[in-house]
Amino acid sequence: MSDLVVTLLGKYNYWLCVILMMIGLYAMIAKNNLIKKLVGMNIFQTSIILFYVSIGCKKGATISILEHGAGHHGVDPTHYINPLPHVLMLTAIVVSVSTFGVALALAIKVYRKHKTLEEDEILMQLRSE
Amino acid sequence: METIQSIKPLIAVLVSICVVPLLVLCKKPNLREGWTFAAAAVKLLLVLSMLPVILNGNQIVYTLVEGVPGVAIKFRVDALGMLFACVAASLWIITSAYSIGYMRGLKEHSQTRYYVFFALALSATIGVAFSANLLTLYLFYEMLSLATYPLVTHHQDREARAAGRKYLTYILGTSIGLVLPAMLVCYHLTGTLEFASQGFLAGACNRGLAGVLLVFFIFGFAKAAVMPFHGWLPAAMVAPTPVSALLHAVAVVTVGVFSIVRILTGVFGTELLGQFDFGVIICAIASVTIIVASLIALSQDNLKRMLAFSTIGQLSYIILGVGLLSPKGITGGMLHIAMHAFGKITLFFCAGAIFMATGKRNISEMVGIGRRMPWTMGAFFVGSLSIIGLPPTGGFISKWYLVLGTLEANQMTFLLVLLGSSLLSAAYFMPVVYRAFFPPPGKAMFENKVGEAPILCVAPPVITAFISVVLFFYPEPFFRLVSMAVRFIGGN
């Protein structure tokens, strides 16, 4: 029993990320409004970013900017957190921002044509074409 | 026996493809048809130049590229292929001449397209004849199917569309649905598709699987019009008559039958067929087709449709002959490829000439026509003799060997089938000829102004009829090729 608790609590960061991820995914699938879907998509992407960032964490370590002069005489890697997930997530953030930008542009273009952002109404318009 | 490497087979195949751009670019009809003739002549010369080599017991081989490991696009000229190529190449010239007369006489549209696809069809036919393996054969078989589609649907009217649909459904449906999987299974079992004198399947599969493969192949090559996959052939009669002649005598159906013969001898091998007792099954399938087709032909009034059903029956003679698995039977079957081609093409030429001169398609409207078109109907008479199998025509020789084959194989049932069907074909041909020449008094339907069709439409049937007769007295070249092919298959 205690093992289970340890397993659960020891990785609660992943649990939270997964829950957040699923909230975003659900919004993308189930919401009718295109902007709400977009928000869901953003939540989804952000949760993955959190997931990655939490990979980089090390207990008791500080951010990976070497203290002044530390670089010259041997760095203890356990003092600093893993820089790689941060690098990767900078990229992922940029990707998610860019996707969001293009998605908004597309949404505006859809709105120009259909005068609505509700998916069912758009579908109805398309069917009646 | 020697194997000679030579690029000649490839050139022979490609000649008529190479002429296509010239045909398309030629603005003048005369020049265009000149090119057609030139290509036909070159092709015939190439084929004939290989004849002595083959008659000396050698083989010519050329490998183009290796498409799939172990299976190349490869040509091999052997006796059987040579026989078929000779027939096809020589008939192409005659058909070309006839086409010119026919197409110009009727002022058909899109003549360039017609000649282009005619040339392509011939390429494919020679390709089938010279194929060294199943893949190459399949390649050219499909090419032929596609090249003949615009020919069959030449008139581009509603009837042509229906016929074209039927044609492709039968031909492509069966080749993709049956032949392709069967071929792949063969490849999977043996790792090769090369035709061998005793087949390559021996020892690779059990009786059940072999039976399935056999059925797939026989019905898959639907160009052979084995019932119940014969429906496309009568439908395809909407095509212009030279096309029908091409379909029936030179290219399509003959290719189908040739493919089946190749499969039976080169893939299964007579020994394996005998061992599994498949001969009887093949013969039975063929016999059903022979009898039923002949009966249907009896009831036809449209001349071309009657000829179509006659063809369906006659083709199965060839399959029957090979199915007998006796040397004489196989000889007869193979000879029949040539003999039937010359006989049937004569009949189609005549039907076309009659249509040109009188506009009549139905037998019941042809009473007394022999008086007005003696040459044409004379040729028709000779052609029908050949199909029935009566001397002095080539048809007699092949039928004779078929009969001997049934005796040799001790298959009296099939002897009866052969004789019965000969009677039936006499029954549907002779009334036509009789009424054409000897109309009941006062029933003659033609006045004096009806005469022979243009010379380009009359000469070809006369020539082919003449050749039919010549083949009776001098079947030597074909006979030698066939006996070599049979010896090759027999393994000695």
Partner: protein, 498 residues
């Protein structure tokens, strides 16, 4: 300079993309020539790279000079080189062929359009060449983002389709990213080769299994693998002509490449087939994809949408082949990536030039087109024959491998699905051919304005189209060479199951 080929193939179009977008504001007429130069250089270099790989077997490149697990490395073997050549050469041909469509459909934004075009190619070539899992993700997003924008440029339903594609595509990308994250947690590395050496000890860990499944789902979404294909027909069907004929042949094929790369290099064949035993279910799913794609295609009344469903079906071919778990099937799948790209390009280019003249692709508007556009229609027939699988076109040979792979593996359902789709393709294409061959004999009242203006497409469209359709046959005839010199050594090296 020669050892920089792998980097240059990706970087040159990138540089040219930026230049083109800048130049568009100064001198518009320079955009197209610059794009041609950039694309042509990239295509030429990929051909050279292919030649080098064919002789040496492997070309490696270290970005920034860093050794691989620390930096990003390119690891170009036969598979990369083959696919990258297809991508760049076809994109180059498409660029030339669709120039007039672009001028007509997006006249004002040609500069931005060509810039995005080049960036799309950057994305694809980068995906294909890279040896780093995360770099692949970034380039995947470059390719996806450009394709969203390019598709959204179309009129009518295009923006909505693009938005849908964006939603689905982002989920796909995120799943892939998640899969990579799992791998990273378990191994601490992002380099494909490095991950592959670290993985074998943890093949039975559920996290690795999940990483594989998430990568698979992510890539599956991006390649429109049934049942995740819903976005594809709309997105490709409503895209501007030049975009459709660019993205349709390349994007899905590159995704199949990614899958094969993941199986072969990262997770290893043992893991995918022996430990996970995913072969059978995936082959069944692929068979379903083939059949479903074919059936949906039958219901379409628009030429381009019909082609789109054919792509769905073809994806099933490749996935099925890859998952058959034997050499022949994998050969067929790789070959089909190559062949299908050419065939699809041929079909879409035909659709493009028909659209250019007829202004519509509904089937009943094609009546009598054979007499008006004979060359285009002849090329359409060539493409159709290849899709159907008639020798000697290349489609026949890949189908040959796929079917014999299926027979070898005893997957008769897959074989049946392949044959079924061939037959359906016969029906599909001969319906098109029939309509365009027979014209309008039911209606003798003349057919309005559409009948007069239609004539053969301009030479700038026809020449590339002819090259592609001749390529169909040439590639078909040289299948043996491709298999022997490129695919067999690859599979041999990867220690593929016998």
């Amino acid at each position: 300079m020669t050892n920089h080929y792998p980097a240059l193939i990706v970087v040159l179009p990138l540089l040219f993309a930026f230049v083109v977008s800048g130049v568009a504001w100064v001198k518009k007429s320079l955009c197209f020539p610059l794009t041609i130069v950039g694309m042509g250089l990239s295509a030429g270099l990929s051909v050279c790279l292919l030649g080098r790989v064919a002789t040496t077997g492997l070309v490696e490149y270290r970005m920034g000079g860093w050794e691989t697990p620390w930096g990003i490395g390119y690891h170009v073997d036969y598979l990369n080189a083959l696919v990258v050549t297809v991508v760049t050469v076809l994109a180059f041909i498409n660029l030339i062929a669709t120039r007039k469509n672009v001028v007509e459909e997006t006249p004002e934004k040609a500069g931005a359009f060509y810039s995005l075009y080049l960036l799309f190619i950057v994305g694809l070539t980068g995906i294909v060449l890279t040896g780093d899992l995360f770099n692949l993700y970034v380039l995947l997003e470059v390719a996806s983002l450009t394709s969203y924008a390019l598709i959204g440029m179309g009129n009518g339903r295009a923006p909505m389709s693009a938005l849908n594609y964006l939603f689905v595509g982002t989920v796909g990308g995120c799943f892939y990213l998640l899969g990579v994250g799992y791998l990273y947690i378990m191994t601490g590395s992002l380099n494909m080769v490095d991950v592959a050496t670290l993985l074998p000890q943890m093949y039975h860990s559920s996290a690795v299994v999940m990483a594989f499944i998430f990568c698979l789902v992510g890539v599956g979404i991006k390649m429109a693998f049934f049942p995740l294909h819903m976005w594809l027909p709309n997105a490709y069907g409503f895209a501007p002509t030049a975009v459709g004929s660019l993205i349709a042949p390349l994007m899905t094929k590159v995704m199949v490449y990614v899958l094969i790369r993941l199986i072969l290099t990262v997770f290893s064949v043992d893991f995918a087939f022996v430990i996970l035993k995913m072969g059978d279910p995936m082959v069944w799913l692929s068979s379903l994809a083939i059949v479903a794609g074919a059936v949906f295609a039958l219901a379409q009344k628009n030429l381009k949408r019909m082609f789109c469903y054919i792509i769905v079906s073809e994806i099933g071919y490749m996935m099925g082949g890859a998952w058959l778990g034997n050499n022949t099937g994998m050969t067929g799948a790789i070959l089909h990536i190559f062949n299908d790209a050419i065939m699809t390009l041929c079909l879409f280019l035909c659709a493009g030039s028909i659209y250019y003249r007829v202004r519509g692709l509904e089937l009943d508007r094609l009546k009598g087109l054979f007499s008006k556009m004979p060359v285009t229609m002849a090329c359409l027939v060539a493409g159709a024959l290849s899709i159907i699988g008639v020798p000697p076109t290349c489609g026949f040979f890949s189908k040959w491998y796929l079917i014999s792979g299926g027979l070898e593996a005893g997957q008769y359902g897959f074989v049946a699905a392949l044959l079924f789709s061939s037959l359906v393709n016969v029906v599909l294409f001969f319906r098109v051919i029939e309509i365009s061959y027979y014209g309008d004999f039911e209606d003798h009242h003349g057919h309005g304005s559409s009948g007069e203006a239609v004539m053969e497409a301009p030479a700038s469209m026809l020449v590339p189209l002819l090259i592609v359709s001749i390529g169909l046959i040439v590639v078909g005839l040289y299948t043996g060479g491709i298999v022997n010199h490129l695919i067999n050594p690859l599979l041999l090296k990867q220690g593929f199951l016998g």
